[in-house]
Symmetry: C2
Subunit: 327 residues, 2 copies
């Protein structure tokens, strides 16, 4: 089995590669080759099978074709300009997130000759726009309030149409906020959801810019990889033409996040959170979904964590070697 | 006020032009110039103001710019490859319905300098895909089952995003099946909904290819023009960021259509309908929505007919000079 990953240099991409290298198989089929693509050179880990790396801007005409020339059986399309950048640079966002996706799908279509790979597309809960019901169900409409969300919603529509027409066997998975993100704080407005856990666990101070009653939905990076692998191996005849699914997540308030941190890291961790309201971030967060009723994905076997405690524990296992650092 | 109409040579486009020529104003503002565009030369009626006609393929790079060079205040974007053709010719459908729409929106964006026209986009109930609830509400999700429906749904998303970003002041209106269509039978699978009324009223035989209990939603061509004009003049600050609306319609079974025909044209009209089931058309129709709960459009003042009798009466008024032909 040959696997192509677009966006392989990103956080989720790297974790997916790591898992595939470890497991050496996908859905019971031995991996014979892994092709890693990104706009910057992806890392190439040691593996029991050959790994190729490719670097290009896949939104440029002619650049998508080489990616599918060897007819990969499974394609993970994780490549995207993120929310903030797509909002700041309209043309770049549409070029990468819309044109790039379409050129990829068309490159697959042009292979022809019965080629019909499984294509796993990472969409986002940014396809939804306020006002929301208390829990967003599987049939709630997509009215994004960002260009990024618009581009992801268009990707979902293209995926469904190209699947229906038999050019690819696509599934779109709407990832919730991934938490606890490893590494340094990033500039995403949602970054604090990870920061207020990650920094205190590492002995550092973090800023909480929103009120304690803000509710949001999370899944761990490990769950994100689980979703991708499940999506790649699921029997899609059970899914039918509605190919885009909201993934399960853990819906908690910031206060509940902090309670979980207290249970796992103790009061000294909680004491490292400084509460400093940032009206800009508060305004952003008000436009975000609070809770999902992801029954369809759950009935298809997608699973997230059961609690925020579990999300923190996974961070400690996967990123801190299983124990809190001495502080 | 300067008005641009794309798709001016189509049935709804021609009726819109006729109305504007008659009324000489739109929303209380005098019309100073009308620009009619289509891929074939649109008719240019006599009018109290100058009418320009332009013929081009607006999906070709550089062709959308001249359309907006004179900064029209209102743009009606009715141009589209219809359902059957978009399904038969994937590339043409995506080129006209997606690329054309996007190039038009980008041409508007590139005018800059505060230019922000009202843009009325005709979408379609083809954005919905079975299975449906008994009545499709305003927050039901878009899962089209045709490439045409996919392209219209993408147009809606682009319209909302470009409106949100302030490049245009857009509104998308999802037209129900337009009935009674004037003229000859066309090849659309939905053509029989008009044929079974129009042909009998004109002394001709018509074929009914589906069972009598098939339910469908209709509005007259006059209502379609009313929708467009209302959309062009409505205060969109009342609409907010959710810019795409399902239009009101009359939901009736075929049996109810025929009862209305009997009341208006008598039994001799009904006798001209031959019932000949066509399994292909039956299969198509099973995938179509039956009824809409278009509360949002209604609350914004959009109005369709109150009954199918009224729809037939409008056909007789607008197309047959107000009386049934001698038969």
């Amino acid at each position: 089995m040959q696997i192509l990953i677009l966006g392989a240099a990103g956080m989720v991409g790297r974790k997916l590669v790591e898992r595939l290298v470890q497991e050496r198989q996908l859905g019971g089929q031995e991996i014979t080759r892994l092709i890693l693509h990104d706009v910057v050179e992806p890392e190439r880990p040691e593996a029991s099978f050959p790994i190729d790396t490719l670097t290009s801007d896949f939104s440029m005409p002619g650049e998508a074709e080489p990616l599918v020339a060897t007819r990969p059986d499974v394609i993970f399309h994780l490549a995207a300009i993120v929310s903030g950048e797509a909002e700041a640079d309209l043309e770049k966002g549409y070029r990468i997130n819309l044109d790039g996706t379409r050129l990829l799908f068309d490159a697959i279509r042009h292979v022809g000759d019965g080629y019909r790979p499984r294509l796993v597309f990472t969409s986002s809960i940014a396809v939804f726009g306020a006002p929301f019901p208390e829990a967003i169900g599987d049939e709630f409409f997509l009215t994004p309030l960002t260009s990024y969300g618009t581009q992801k919603a268009i990707g979902e529509l293209l995926l469904a149409d190209y699947s229906r027409r038999g050019f690819l066997d696509g599934i779109g998975i709407r990832l919730p906020t991934i938490c606890v993100r490893p590494g340094k704080p990033n500039k995403a407005a949602s970054g604090f959801f990870s920061s207020i856990i990650r920094e205190p666990l590492n002995g550092q101070e973090a800023i909480l810019p929103v009120p304690m009653d803000v509710r949001h939905s999370h899944a761990s990076p490990r769950s994100a990889v689980n979703f991708l692998i499940h999506a790649a191996t699921l029997d899609l005849s059970r899914v039918g033409p509605r190919r885009n699914l909201t993934m399960p997540s853990v819906s908690v308030t910031v206060a509940e996040q902090i309670d979980a941190l207290r249970r796992i890291g103790g009061e000294r961790c909680v004491a490292r959170i400084r509460h400093e309201i940032d009206p800009n971030i508060v305004r952003f967060v008000e436009g975000w979904p609070r809770r999902f009723d992801a029954r369809r994905a759950e009935s298809l076997g997608f699973r997230a964590e059961g609690s925020f405690d579990e999300i923190i524990s996974i961070y400690i296992e996967d990123e801190l070697g299983g124990a809190l650092p001495d502080q």
